[in-house]
Symmetry: C2
Subunit: 336 residues, 2 copies
DNA sequence: TAATAAATTGAGAGCGCTCTCAAAACCTCA
DNA sequence: TGAGGTTTTGAGAGCGCTCTCAATTTATTA
C-alpha cells in the first residue's frame, strides 16, 4: 500500500502542506526543513499519487501522443519508432509521461472523447494526421493545448515540422545537377501535408530548370514499400532517367521493381529519396537521401507542448527543422 | 470546462450516485432512469474524469507498456511496432488506455518509481526484458498486476510468449530435411530469453540428427541487421551450407554479407529465419521463416492483464502461442 | 527592547468521483 | 389495507493531493 503525503508528513514531523511544498519545489521552505523532508522521501521512495495531484491541481504531467493508424506505413516505416522514441525520451527528461493512442477507425467516438475530456492529459501531440483530420479541429475547438508534428495548411496552430519542401527540392535539384533531364517522382500520400510539401519541392526544382511537370512522371504512393514498387513499375514505361522518391521505404520498393526489371541503379536509373532511415546506407545501392531529424522532431514537439502547457501564452509556436542531403550511391555521384 | 457527474445529475433530475451507477453499468437502476441519464450523457458527450475515478475507486483503466530501450533493435525491427499496435488495439477494444515507457538508462530511478508508485497504472506489460531485468523483480515484489511478454526463466509470473524453441527447432529441422549437414546458427542476444530459446530449438534439432554442436557454427547477434551481417561474415570461413538465423532482421544483414561475398542464396547457402516480418517476402531471395503472431502477442498480454486486474485470482496465467513455418525461396525448397 | 516586516508553517476546503448505508418507493400476498 | 420484502435512490464520507489564508516563527529596524 503506497504511502501518502500525510505519512511523509508525520514521519518528518511537519504538515502535509509543507511536504507538498517540498515536492513541488516551492521556494518558501526553510532549507533545513526541506532537507529533513527530502531525506524521508528518499528513504521511503515516495512517489505522489498522480490522480490525486491531477484532481487537486489540474495537471498530470502526462501528455498524449496520437498517431492515426490509418497511416498504413505505421508498422514498417522506421520513422514512427524514431518519433516515438524522441517523444518518450524528451518526456522522461522533463518528468512527463506519455500515453499512446494509435487511433483506429472508431476514432472520433470513444478515443476522441477520452483524449479530450478524460482530464488525464495536460496536452496532446498529433503526428502524421491526414489533412482535415477531425481530431485537429476537435482539439482546436477544445481548449486543450496541443502541438502537431507536421504543419497544418490553414489552421493557426502550434506545430513542429521538418522542411519537407526544401529537402525535396534539394534532392531533385541534385538529380538535375547530375545531368538528368527526365526526373520523375514518387510522391507520398497527397492527403498528408508531408506528401504535398515534398511534391511541391519537386515542382520547385522543375520550375528552376524551366521544365514543365509531366503528369505521367508523377506517381502517388502511400509511404509503403509495396506502393513504391507499384509506382516504379508505373513510371518505368515513361523512361525517366532519375526519380525522386518521397521516402526511403518507397525507394526500397522501387529498387526491388528495378532489380526485377533488370535495371541497374544508378546507371540505368538514378534515385534520390527522403528520410535517411537507419538502413538507407545498407540498401543496394545505398540511398542518396534527405536526412531528417525524426527523433528531434519528437523532442521539439514535447518541449513546445510543455512550454504551452506551463504558460498558455499568446503566440503560436512554429518550428521548422532543417534537413540535409546525404549523397550515397543511388544517385550516381559520389560527391556533389 | 468539462462537465461533472453533478452536472449530469442535475440535468437529468437524479442524484450524482445514480449517474455514477449508470456510467458503471450497475444493474440496480430502473431502466427508465438509466435511459434518461444515458440520453443526457450522450448529448453532452460526457466523459468521467479519470483522475477522480482513480482516486475514488483505485482503478484507472490505464495500463503501462514497458519496453527497455536497451533493446538495440527497437528502432528498426518491425516487431515492436506490431507489438505496440497489438497492445494499443486490444486496449482500445476493452476501453483501456496505454502509457508507454521506453525505459532508458536512468531506468530504475525515476521511471521505475513512477511505474510502480504513481498509482496511475492498473497494471503493467513488460516486453523484451533482459534476463534478470530489475523491473521484473520490482514488479514481482510490489503487488502491482503485471504480465511479461516473453516467458521468465524462473519467477512464477504471468506471461505470454510465442513458442520460440519449437519454431527454431522446426526451421532448423527444415534445413536438415533439405539435406544440409553443416547447419550453423546466428543467435539473438543470449541475455534475452527469446535468444536463448531459439538457440535451444536449434540445439534440439541438432540432437535429433545426432549431430554435436560446433561452437564455431554458432554466432551471437543482437537482433539488428548489422549484427546479422557481422555474424554471417564470422560464420562463412567455417563453410556451413545452411544457417538458421534467429530473426529476419539479422537475416537481411546476413543476406547482405553473402551478396557482397558473391555467394548465392539458396544455392551456396540456405537460410531460414524467424519472425516473418512484413517484408520477409520481399527480400531477395524471400525468406523462409517462422511466422509468429506478434500482434496477437500484444493482444493476449492485454487480455491476460485485464483479467488479472479485474479478479486478482490465484493461479498464474501462461500462454504460449503457436508459430508456423513459412517456406519461401531462401531455404532452397519450394515445398517441404 | 518593542514594534514591524518577512519568512515559514499548518489548518482546512475542495478537486470529481465511488461506494456504503439508510431512506424512499414500489411489490407481493395475506 | 397493511406487513414484510425487494428494488431503487440519495446523502455523505473519503480517496490523496494542492492551494489559499491565517497563524506562527524569525529577522529587521527604530
Amino acid at each position: 500500500m503506497p504511502l501518502t503525503l500525510e505519512d511523509i508528513a508525520s514521519l518528518s514531523g511537519v504538515s502535509r502542506a509543507t511536504v507538498s511544498r517540498v515536492i513541488n519545489d516551492d521556494p518558501n521552505v526553510k532549507p533545513r526543513t526541506r532537507e529533513k523532508v527530502m531525506e524521508v522521501i528518499k528513504q521511503i521512495n515516495f512517489q505522489p499519487n498522480i490522480a490525486a495531484r491531477s484532481l487537486a491541481a489540474g495537471r498530470t504531467n502526462i501528455i498524449g501522443l496520437v498517431i492515426p493508424a490509418g497511416v498504413s506505413a505505421l508498422f514498417t516505416d522506421p520513422y514512427f519508432p524514431l518519433l516515438i522514441q524522441g517523444v518518450s525520451s524528451a518526456c522522461n527528461a522533463r518528468d512527463f509521461s506519455v500515453m499512446l493512442w494509435l487511433a483506429e477507425p472508431e476514432y472520433e467516438r470513444r478515443t476522441m472523447r477520452q483524449i479530450l475530456h478524460s482530464g488525464i492529459l495536460d496536452g496532446v501531440i498529433v503526428s502524421s494526421m491526414l489533412l482535415d483530420d477531425p481530431i485537429v479541429q476537435a482539439l482546436y475547438d477544445s481548449k486543450k493545448p496541443f502541438v502537431l508534428i507536421g504543419r497544418h495548411p490553414y489552421l493557426d496552430v502550434n506545430y513542429v515540422d521538418v522542411d519537407n519542401a526544401t529537402g525535396a527540392y534539394e534532392a531533385t535539384r541534385h538529380l538535375f545537377r547530375l545531368g538528368h533531364q527526365q526526373v520523375a517522382t514518387i510522391t507520398g500520400p497527397l492527403n498528408m501535408i508531408a506528401g504535398q510539401d515534398r511534391l511541391d519541392g519537386y515542382h520547385r526544382a522543375l520550375q528552376e530548370q524551366g521544365i514543365a511537370p509531366h503528369p505521367e512522371l508523377i506517381a502517388e504512393g502511400d509511404f509503403t514499400e509495396a506502393s513504391g514498387y507499384k509506382a516504379m513499375r508505373q513510371l518505368m514505361p515513361h523512361r525517366p532517367t532519375a526519380v525522386f522518391i518521397a521516402t526511403d521505404m518507397m525507394a526500397e520498393g522501387a529498387l526491388r521493381a528495378l532489380r526485377e526489371a533488370g535495371m541497374r541503379v544508378p546507371q540505368d536509373m538514378a534515385i534520390a529519396s527522403y528520410d535517411d532511415m537507419p538502413n538507407a546506407s545498407r540498401t543496394s545501392p545505398p540511398l542518396t537521401t534527405i536526412r531528417q531529424p525524426s527523433q528531434q522532431l519528437g523532442a521539439h514537439a514535447v518541449d513546445t507542448l510543455i512550454e504551452i502547457v506551463q504558460k498558455p501564452g499568446a503566440h503560436k509556436r512554429r518550428i521548422i527543422l532543417p534537413v540535409e542531403l546525404i549523397v550515397r550511391q543511388s544517385c550516381g555521384a559520389s560527391c556533389l
